[in-house]
Symmetry: C2
Subunit: 349 residues, 2 copies
């Protein structure tokens, strides 16, 4: 029976791109649940651009990860020991378990998931925070109307791919922006967007003139930088820009502001930031609709599951900033193999 | 009787700051009203930062002034000849009469004003577009609530000084940002703001920590640039940033975007552009409330009336970008003297 819990902790706050020396690989004994607690074996970790922000000091929408603390991460896993009345051994659960192999939990912020209804990594993507971010960001902040043009950056990514698919379901014309031919093909062929713009090989401004001839009514931005500036020049009157992320800027020590922001005035448009955690009391609504669309075959899930366990976390995170992932990036910790050899299964402690 | 109409026309589109060679000084005969028209002798011209934008080519919220065209300007004047049933000789009127001494009009977009109720320049400021911009921008876009903190840049200027006074009337805590000790004193002593920050001598970020300890709920921005960036770092949760102008950037060939725009995400805040012309069907509502507050002594008007006639327009416009004005900048064309010697008075044509 496994007794060691491998972890990745934050060793230093990075300046610019995180380096190996910003992480500390630690092994400690697997904890034992106290009364009211249970032990989760982490199976899959959600790898998110937002993680870069959590590594910084200073006020943000969530407290920073402290130096020496296990890196924060969303995850799915399996309960391997329990002294909690609501969670039994064998239950699959989703929660913020961190970059480690085992996590003790008192159940707060933890939800049960059903591995028969969807593959476990999907509970980190389409049916997890990525899907909910897309759902509430697009519907509540973007407020698209049928027939309007919705543009999404990071269109082949975890959130962007779902945003575009929901916008199609809502009757919009949808244009994705992504890097590289393969991603752009995926955006159109697998996710069903009306068009894709390859920012690596195309002039985004020119391509937007072609694909959004009447202007952009909703722009869902995951990337910031030059792409945000290009879309700002193409806004339709009354457009809504949803600021969900700025992956192009997270490792920059001198972030680039949108020089064309006065287009907000010219077009009487708005730019609004959103954080999915604010919608916690409506997660159930979001997941229900996402699951329904998925069951109807209208929402394609794509998870990019990378092996390697927690030791591979630092390099896996960097894949996001290099745009190397397709769909939701997930790190396998115990994964498929884990399900056969879960420790403590049937145990009584 | 005056027969010559002096005009200032746009000669070239400026790159950066407008220069003398961008203007053409023209004299042409004063026109005669056709049926359904009247002639206005321009008395006061409204000098506005937005004028700089109208000189640029390209799509904006209003069509550009064409090369060779009389420069667009809001103005008040007096009807000196009329073949229009709705406007009589001697009527005082407000409209977009342009940088010229006389303007023919068919009455569209022209409103009568009462020189007995307020000085004529006030109809360009508090009771004109400046007041309406402040009113609708603050109330409709800023949506301040009593007790909230409102920060205004360009606080000693035409729009900013009114924004702050309305915010005080609505029960807010109001902090103004202006350049120089004299303006800051005016902001507090004459306009009644709770505090003023002198961006020329103070660290704006530090001063905002002091004067907006609980964060900024509404930021009404007239200036852009570094001041916008400083305020973004101080936003309260759910803050509204009203983008009314960016006078610090209008002459820049490489405008500066707000590098701290991700504060919108951190604080779930929004940044929204506004153009007063969109509220045309509610101008009457706005003017009525502004006039009421003014009559009650709760709204101080300050007009900075500069003499010199239309020939002085180019240098007067530059005063705005040098921050040389206090309150509403107005260029006197016929003005006080004009009222005694208006041409065509009592005429019958």
């Amino acid at each position: 029976m496994t007794t060691t819990n491998r972890q990745v902790r934050l060793a230093a706050r990075p300046a610019g791109e995180p380096r190996d020396t910003d992480w500390q690989h630690v092994e400690e004994p697997v904890g034992e649940p106290a009364d009211g607690e249970f032990l989760v074996q982490v199976m899959y970790l959600s790898i998110d651009p937002a993680m870069r922000g959590w590594m910084n000091a200073g006020r943000s929408y969530i407290r920073p990860v402290e130096i020496g603390e296990v890196m924060r991460a969303g995850a799915v896993g399996r309960v391997t020991a329990s002294r909690h009345p609501g969670f039994a051994v064998g239950d699959h659960v989703s929660g913020t378990f961190g970059v480690q192999e085992f996590c003790l939990s008192d159940g707060r912020g933890v939800t049960k998931v059903d591995p028969a209804a969807a593959p476990l990594p999907t509970y980190l993507g389409t049916l997890g925070m990525s899907g909910l971010t897309a759902y509430f960001g697009l519907i509540d902040i973007g407020r698209p109307e049928p027939g309007q043009t919705v543009v999404v950056s990071g269109a082949a990514g975890a959130v962007g791919s779902i945003v575009g698919q929901i916008a199609k379901i809502l009757g919009c014309r949808v244009v994705g922006i992504a890097g590289g031919e393969r991603k752009c093909r995926m955006v159109v062929e697998e996710f069903g967007f009306d068009a894709a713009i390859d920012y690596q090989s195309e002039d985004v401004r020119k391509a937007l003139r072609e694909h959004a001839p009447d202007g952009v009514d909703v722009y869902f931005d995951n990337v910031g930088g030059d792409i945000l500036d290009a879309v700002l020049l193409r806004l339709a009157r009354g457009a809504r820009v949803v600021i969900c992320g700025a992956v192009s800027q997270y490792n920059s020590t001198r972030p680039q502001g949108p020089a064309n922001y006065m287009s907000l005035l010219v077009n009487r448009a708005s730019m609004t930031g959103m954080v999915v955690f604010d919608y916690a009391d409506r997660y159930a609504e979001g997941v229900a609709r996402l699951a329904e669309w998925r069951a109807e075959g209208r929402l394609t899930s794509l998870e990019d599951v990378v092996p390697g366990g927690v030791a591979a976390f630092p390099e896996t995170l960097m894949r996001l900033f290099r745009g190397a992932n397709h769909g939701k990036l997930v790190l396998e910790v115990a994964g498929g193999k884990g399900t056969g050899t879960v420790i403590g299964e049937g145990g009584s402690r």
